[in-house]
């Protein structure tokens, strides 16, 4: 995958706009089974990345991703910060290690595994991993961006039926069932936004 600086800057702007638009919804989801701040947390993170988008976009993709991850970690706090941060830092490091990152899918797989380690969590725990796993599987399968986005969306929805085993929602026990996980929701939103951009600007 090749991304020009302009693409990266545009993607950052797009993700930030997407989170901004859905911030209240993400917080509402988090209010139901968490502490109601996921929208604010994600906004703060994306605003910080957006503020540094020019210098980030000037970096090679692996370094840019790692930098985005670091900015997220240092600005979000809460659970989302280390998780999204680890995802991007590890993805960047993985791509760098491969020498300009030809095998995106492999790097993503390792990054998702790092997120799971950081969160001590796995599939079915009702977290953003329940979106990351299927997205990564579709990428391995080289599915079309539109299909990946739809998968992400339905994966997020399927967290409704789960009982949370990690994160604040897990403290609710069975009461967490019936609500969509906010982290899964933000993850699907971002996935769909990125896929939409890629479909439009770099048809694979």
């Amino acid at each position: 995958m090749h991304l020009a600086a302009a693409d990266l800057a545009a993607l950052i702007a797009l993700c930030r706009a997407e989170i901004d638009r859905h911030g209240a919804h993400l917080s509402a989801l988090d209010s139901a089974i968490g502490d109601g701040d996921h929208g604010a947390n994600m906004r703060r993170g994306l605003e910080a990345v957006f503020a540094e988008r020019d210098s980030i976009a000037r970096l090679p993709l692996p370094a840019a991703l790692e930098k985005i991850g670091l900015v997220l970690v240092m600005n979000i706090g809460g659970a989302a910060g280390p998780l999204y941060g680890t995802l991007l830092m590890e993805l960047g490091r993985g791509l760098a290690a491969q020498g300009c990152g030809e095998d995106f899918a492999a790097a993503l797989e390792r990054a998702v595994a790092a997120v799971a380690r950081r969160g001590r969590s796995g599939p079915g725990d009702k977290t953003l991993l329940d979106v990351l796993y299927p997205v990564q599987a579709e990428i391995v399968r080289r599915s079309a961006p539109g299909h990946i986005a739809a998968c992400a969306r339905s994966a997020a929805q399927s967290t409704q039926a789960m009982q949370a085993r990690r994160g604040r929602a897990s403290f609710l026990g069975a009461r967490s069932i019936g609500h969509e996980d906010p982290g899964a929701s933000s993850c699907a939103l971002l996935t769909a936004a990125i896929c939409g951009y890629l479909a439009e600007h770099r048809p694979l």
Binding site: A24, S27, S31, A32, I33, G34, D35, G36, D37, G39, A40, N41, R44, V73, M74, N75, I76, G77, G78, A79, A80, G81, P82, L83, G85, R118, G119, R165, R166, G167, R168, S170, F171, L172, G173, R175
Partner: protein, 333 residues
């Protein structure tokens, strides 16, 4: 829900500034205002560092001072601080004996402190104590790991006192782990809270409802139940606490129980003292004789109405640590 606030994004910073100004003799800001520290460090002792989301005041910054914390890192409301804050605190207050991190058991807090510990590993000896005192999130609800709630004050006080007396990193870590089996808390909310960015409360209770088994983030608790009189509330809290101690501990000889009645921010002293009296009677009727009491507002959930009880079954040595001198904004004797 109205707040004395200028703007959500300045809420935490302005509050911390006021705290430090009100207690200039004890406190100072760390570099870049990333944390609050003891104005004068005690060289040679282990640095005791804690932190967490804002909204729990006086926890944690109000417990910085002699005999308790050396630094506290505060995040946004109900949001863990970020690793850079924690690393900055370690760099500034570790005088050579290493850092003991006290972390309430929330995934966000655990992960951010863990990343900080990894980043600081080349320069600092670091150990972490995870506080898990919440009786509402015991094994019946969650496969592993209770939340850390008001019992955190007890853990910070005892570890802080031990550090002040020269205990090393390994001893402090062992003390923290031992305490996790000895402290149980249970809370009830009579009114929910709205975080500054949100207009709405996380849960809305009717005039005849209460939320039982709540944590300290305005999140829903174990069950929505019928509002009851104080005796019934205290009995429910007390029974939940007693049910969650490790088997055998309640029957152990020579324990010195400590009873904490903690207001969640919107509950006034007249109600807290009443609750203390009833809790005392509840436990004494079960042959648990609290040897000391702490009643007040220590671990809040913004202005949530409600309270929690905490029972700590301490050894005589641990009890002596509780009685050791302490000079912080929110706890002093």
């Amino acid at each position: 829900m109205k707040k004395i606030m200028n703007a959500p994004e300045r809420f935490v910073a302005e509050s911390l500034e006021g705290l430090v100004l009100a207690h200039e003799g004890l406190l100072a800001f760390g570099g870049g205002r990333k944390f609050v520290r003891r104005r004068v460090l005690a060289p040679g002792k282990v640095a005791v560092i804690s932190g967490g989301g804002a909204g729990h005041e006086p926890l944690h910054s109000g417990f910085v001072g002699r005999g308790m914390l050396d630094a506290a890192c505060t995040g946004h409301v109900f949001t863990s601080p970020t690793p850079d804050q924690i690393v900055a605190a370690m760099d500034e207050v570790d005088t050579g004996a290493g850092c003991l991190l006290i972390v309430k058991n929330y995934d966000g807090d655990v992960m951010n402190f863990e990343m900080a510990a990894e980043m600081a590993a080349p320069r600092h000896a670091v150990e972490t104590v995870i506080v898990e005192d919440d009786a509402a999130t015991g094994p019946a609800v969650r496969s592993r790991g209770r939340r850390g709630v008001a019992g955190t004050v007890v853990v910070e006080k005892l570890i802080g006192a031990a550090a002040e007396q020269g205990a090393d990193l390994a001893a402090l870590k062992a003390l923290g782990e031992d305490l996790n089996g000895r402290i149980r808390s249970m809370g009830v909310a009579l009114r929910g809270v709205a975080v500054p960015d949100n207009a709405r409360e996380t849960f809305v209770l009717g005039p005849e409802e209460m939320e039982f088994g709540v944590g300290i983030h305005g999140e829903p608790g174990l069950a929505r139940t019928r509002f009851a009189d104080a005796d019934a509330i205290i009995r429910q809290l007390g029974e939940a606490i007693l049910a969650e101690f490790p088997p055998g501990l309640l029957a152990a000889e020579g324990l010195r129980p400590l009873l904490v009645v903690n207001g969640f921010g919107g509950t006034p002293p007249i109600e807290l003292y009443l609750a203390h009296g009833l809790a005392r009677r509840f436990f004494e009727a079960r042959a648990i004789m609290p040897a000391r009491a702490l009643t007040g507002t220590f671990v809040t959930s913004l202005d949530m109405a409600g309270l929690s009880l905490t029972l700590a079954l301490l050894t005589p040595d641990q009890f002596a640590l509780w009685n050791a001198p302490v000079a912080t904004p929110a706890l002093g004797w």
